[in-house]
Symmetry: C2
Subunit: 388 residues, 2 copies
């Protein structure tokens, strides 16, 4: 259960207050769209809307396979979010543009004997979680996805997962926001702007905006490659492929137009968006073992984003202080969790209870800010709520 609404006197039950959203990634835009559609006057602050980690994401809506091997709280939150995706996508499409939801599920594949053993452990674990999956032989997997290579020796079919085209989603959210009357301000906020309620949704940069987020939200680099199938090469798979290749995990997520997004579960902490040669080499080598046709695909882009990670890998959604809400820390799950996050934020703006499933995301779990918890916390002045 999340805290029942924001602090007394700070909810905006009459929908007449002003809401400032810091950050126009998938989280900020989703919150802004929902709030503006509900009648709030919403301003969004971002020097380059839609250009951060959301722009780099693979767009998997994959709570089951993302939370592996053992993050039950992340799984539960993701599952709650996934249930909201079909309506969210439909409403977004109606509001202006289609985020290209694909509901074909995920195929998790193994290559080496060690990978196969890992896959069997995952199947067993999912079964214990009450989510039995189909186990396929390599041959059966290739019957489902003919572009899989001969080294694939086992697969799990996880039918109820999905994906969206993250860039189509961002474009759709921008259209929907403008349609709902959201105002965009193209500048970087060094501190929360003044408004009746401020929503901090600045992703990996959120830590600088509030003392309670400082040192709690860390940037974790994620790199992807965007490929394009070429004439003569086998077409990309029709569903998301997650692969365990020599103990490493990578994923291959199809897009319209014969495109394919590759990513890996590497993680490097720091404000650095370099795509390293070693990461590209490893990702391409692994992806080619999974899907040999990849060798013939064109490399369109290699790009890195900074995902906002919290200490427990759960997002931080809720009130930080009167008039200031957090909607950040979504780590690898920003796209998946966007509909649920926007729902929680809208409930809080209205002074209502948010959905109970979002309870674990409460800021109440963060340690209190003390004078010596961070020797440079004096740089972050506490934000005074402006009078309405």
């Amino acid at each position: 259960m999340v805290s029942s609404g924001i602090s007394s006197g700070n909810s905006l039950e009459d929908s007449s207050g002003t809401v400032a959203v810091v950050g126009a990634g998938v989280i900020g835009l989703s919150c802004a769209w929902r709030a503006a559609s509900a009648g709030f006057a919403v301003r969004v602050y971002d020097p380059a809307p839609g250009s951060g980690a959301s722009h780099v994401a693979a767009g998997m809506l994959a709570p089951v396979t993302e939370a592996l091997p053992t993050e039950p709280a992340v799984f539960a939150l993701g599952a709650a979010a996934l249930r909201r995706w079909p309506d969210f996508a439909a409403e977004l499409t109606a509001a202006g543009a289609d985020p290209r939801l694909r509901t074909d599920g995920t195929l998790v594949v193994a290559l080496d004997p060690g990978d196969r053993a890992e896959l069997d452990r995952i199947a067993e674990q999912l079964s214990r979680m009450g989510r039995p999956v189909d186990t396929l032989s390599g041959r059966q997997a290739r019957r489902v996805e003919p572009s899989l290579g001969p080294q694939v020796c086992r697969a799990l079919s996880v039918p109820d997962e999905a994906s969206v085209d993250n860039r189509a989603l961002l474009a759709a959210l921008l259209v929907a926001c403008r349609g709902a009357g959201v105002e965009f301000h193209a500048h970087r906020c060094l501190r929360p702007p003044s408004a009746d309620v401020v929503i901090l949704a600045a992703g990996a940069h959120s830590g600088a905006l509030h003392p309670r987020l400082h040192r709690m939200i860390r940037p974790v680099k994620g790199e992807i490659l965007r490929l394009r199938g070429r004439p003569g090469a086998l077409a990309p798979p029709s569903r998301t492929i997650r692969a365990i290749v020599g103990g490493r995990q990578c994923y291959l997520v199809p897009r319209d137009g014969g495109r394919l997004v590759l990513g890996a579960t590497r993680s490097e902490v720091g404000f650095d968006t370099d795509v390293t040669a070693g990461a590209v080499r490893e990702l391409l080598t692994d992806a080619e073992r999974v899907l040999p046709a990849v060798a013939e695909y064109a490399v369109e882009e290699a790009v890195a984003g900074l995902r906002p990670a919290s200490p427990d890998n759960l997002p931080v959604i809720g009130e930080l202080e009167p008039g200031v809400l957090a909607a950040t820390g979504h780590y690898r799950h920003g796209i998946l969790l966007a509909p649920l996050t926007a729902e929680v934020v809208l409930a809080l703006l209205r002074g209502e209870d948010g959905p109970g499933e979002a309870g674990p995301a409460t800021p109440a779990r963060l340690p209190p800010v003390s004078g010596d918890a961070s020797h440079d916390s004096h740089r972050h002045s506490r934000v005074a709520r402006s009078a309405p």
Copy 2:
């Protein structure tokens, strides 16, 4: 010996005629600069000056190691061009910008026993050509270039080779051209423009501009990766490294600012500038074996260009018909051969003999155009020389 000047009546000995150059790559710009500096009125036609194959080049000035294993005519031409580079670079620097000539030589390295045997064959061959080289052990090579990896087991030091920064070179040529009064016209020529003399320097697109070049000049894709060293990783080598890795060849060419250009000697014919995932993976894998620090470098760019190849891998420099000169077909050697090519072209414009070393590049070696040599040659109308 090249033909003695261009056809009687078409030389421009009084430097008062107009010269149109089609193509603003390194060849077109070098010719334009030299011609304008000599007093000709020069116009250059290119929709995007400095953006073609020259922009993608590695910038090696490496006639010895490029011509391996056996292309003596290409080697001789390259050696003649290399001798002209120091003056060319100095004059260009004086005319406005520095093309960053590096004269540290080339180190050719081998990794596997098979590669080592290949290296020994090359050393023997160079010795027979009267170009003895120093053979180094792996340890000696690492003393010279500490970033070389432990798998390097033998090396040849070829001291008298060089490199330039191809993009600095293009920028310098553009400055020098403008300084010399060259006029730029930003459009694509579908046929030679009218002028007293036209110079066809359109690289891989030259074949469409004249029947004698049609089917003689083919596009051959070349892919490069541009990397940037990062703090904490070993710095790039100080000289060009050419490597034989499991029978494949690749090269690593240092640039200022800790940057490194990687390329390979793959070749694919066709008007396609896709950079394939397989090529990137192979190039990075090989480069990492040569220079392990590469894994930590940032990938800044993966890009392909179309090199103009002739049937015998020699360029085509000289008169195609009265008033029309070719300066194309330089294949992998456009940067290296630019000073020599410009010298030949300027001599021809003046009605003088070009340098004898450029003789093998004469268009006279191309087959004559006959009615049935090319069934679609009727598309290319012969160019009438405009009256001066």
